[in-house]
Symmetry: C3
């Protein structure tokens, strides 16, 4: 990390990794998450039919990673709901996005330049969650490397890993697709990030944690901003993944693009995950739903 030393970035990384997330970054996280919920087909109708179900889904989108992490460590799944201010903030965002007159709030935050900033801020929170998840697991299980990876993965992916059950809450059931079978970019990145942070925690990666947080945040924010701006859903990992998969598993790739030439036994519904749909398609859907 000599380069960083030369640029005197070490201190900046240190400050950056200690920065509080509440309320600015968390607010961005809630807005982007509930925006993705509104993009989901049928979610607007659910918000009309049953505000309770809609609110619960919104809470899962915002706090799914905490719930899952608490479940994984055998804690109280609704433990995070003791933070009344976080819940109230997320509830306010949910209310504004779904019920604001003239759909004003939604139009503001879905405006591309605003959204790009929010998306970047969300990735800051995601990275911090992965690091915290790995650290927490390391505290509980000093040599439980698999547990550390799982906890980081779960904290980074959040609601995506339980999307089947979140959909069930809205009356939708799509068993042929789940986030583990068709990993989207953020889920994959969370997995790789969790592995990196675990290596760092186990001191097999000669990098300071604050530096790793800074670097990973920059990578995630850049990737997501570029992908959102270009309405793309290609993964930056595609090339290296296809090579590793070919060497290790003898298959072209676990990704969706290279999947066409496999005779799929499991019906390979190319259901794009919520974070991979182009903006255009999304807007049309949401407009139609209203």
């Amino acid at each position: 990390m000599d380069v960083l030393a030369v640029l005197n970035l070490g201190e900046f990384a240190q400050i950056f990794s200690k920065m509080g997330m509440f309320p600015v970054f968390d607010l961005a996280y809630y807005i982007v998450s509930i925006l993705y919920l509104k993009y989901e087909p049928g979610s607007v109708e659910v918000s009309r039919r049953s505000p309770v179900a809609s609110w619960l889904c919104a809470m899962l989108y915002c706090f799914g990673s905490y719930i899952l992490a608490d479940v994984m460590l055998g804690g109280c799944p609704i433990d995070y709901f003791q933070h009344n201010s976080h819940i109230l903030l997320a509830s306010a965002v949910w209310y504004l996005i779904f019920y604001c007159p003239l759909n004003l709030f939604y139009k503001c935050v879905a405006f591309l330049p605003v959204k790009l900033v929010l998306v970047a801020l969300k990735e800051v929170v995601r990275t911090r969650k992965i690091a915290a998840g790995v650290h927490h697991a390391h505290h509980a299980y000093h040599h439980g490397f698999f547990i550390m990876i799982i906890m980081g993965y779960v904290k980074g992916s959040g609601v995506a890993l339980m999307s089947n059950f979140e959909q069930l809450l809205r009356g939708i059931w799509r068993p042929d697709t789940n986030e583990i079978l068709n990993m989207s970019f953020p889920t994959k990145a969370s997995l790789y990030g969790a592995i990196l942070f675990t290596l760092q925690e186990a001191q097999w990666l000669p990098v300071a944690k604050s530096t790793l947080i800074l670097a990973f945040t920059l990578f995630m924010a850049t990737s997501k901003v570029v992908m959102t701006a270009r309405h793309s859903h290609g993964s930056p990992f595609a090339l290296i993944e296809s090579w590793v998969c070919y060497v290790l598993f003898g298959s072209a790739l676990a990704g969706s693009e290279e999947d066409h030439h496999h005779p799929p036994a499991v019906p390979a519904t190319p259901v794009k995950t919520k974070e991979e749909l182009g903006e255009g398609a999304r807007r049309r859907k949401v407009k139609k739903a209203e």
Copy 2:
């Protein structure tokens, strides 16, 4: 609460709120719960094919609220199964309702006058569970108002909140319906009750807890007895709910009656929940199943 003071009801409420539930009230709770299980289409066949699955469903109907509450607080989900006498009593009720020669026990408890008494007794238990749930959550999280509401809600609603998974145990899967999307009267009342008891616990409601328990029990018992007697499934909350929903969410109502004019994206199957089906329809179903 001057009226109560004048009528000298305060002391009565105190005594009522300390009254033991086991075995009389609990017995009524088990009988009514397993009666509703027998009303479920297919449950009689399951009791013939797999007594183990049928017994497990019966236990979920009787102890679902304890299981869910333990899950929510990160405890041992089968903790309540240490009370052997409760389990044995519920198992005896299950055996008598499903396998009694000539269906004698079922005919006795499903006889309307008997059933009305049992339904009233069941609501006594439900109210106590809501109060206990809120109190327990308050003990664990002093300012966790959301947790208190969730715990009271879960304790009052019981198996209804996990009906999808209870049905799965019997080989049935109806993703388009769940208790959160289409709340039945007891579930809604549990939610409102949980909010009331939370307000009381937070001392924002100037009422003694025992008085609230008495009043809520009276309301619940009266409502359920009237609804059962009239085979009705209208909700006493319909009017105020439609007004609140109109003001807050701009929609007519989250209820089913006013739902027709929405173009439903989620297939709005008007599946009546078990507690809302008229008696006539129920009896016919059960008879046919036998």
Copy 3:
């Protein structure tokens, strides 16, 4: 147990019941479990499309009983993943069975004589798990006989009890079948074993625990080896079960063979569970899948 005393088997039982399971017996357990995973339709495709999903399924097959038992007692579900050597061994087996060049490893372990030995070793582990589950529950709940039975059952049955959710991970959803509705031989035997060990733990069965472990292991190993060798899926319990069910529940039997003359409300798909399919059918399926 005079016979055992005469044969001087008591000491042998003692030694047998203290014998370490890692690595030989555990290795056999992992191999047979992941073999059954490969027999599942679609699992080979999943291993090509998403190695992560395939690995997770393999872990559920190997450690499902620990995960479920931890969930049941309110512990950390991924607690067992702290044993890195066990996870690595199971992962190596998974890799060799699914990705070994020329399918060499699979062919070796699926070769009938080898497989019979492995199956017998697996049953040794299963019996030990049941005994450990009951013992653990007895430690936590001294008089919780139902909890002891449930824990032994869960430890013995493992992934079978959550097969619906394991299938969901692979994109398959078969709600009309679950292990409780259609219990396979190992699941039934685990239930009966859990009851026996609970009776022993409660000292209602005048047998030393080590003797019971030895006897139950012999019964399980013999039954499974014979059933695997003869490609049979009849249950040795069928006769006594049909008699008990007739007396207690007035039905012929909860088993599948005698089930035909019931008009099934729940679509009685005679889906053979993985452990009951004849070898021939399995091999054909797996070959086709490749």
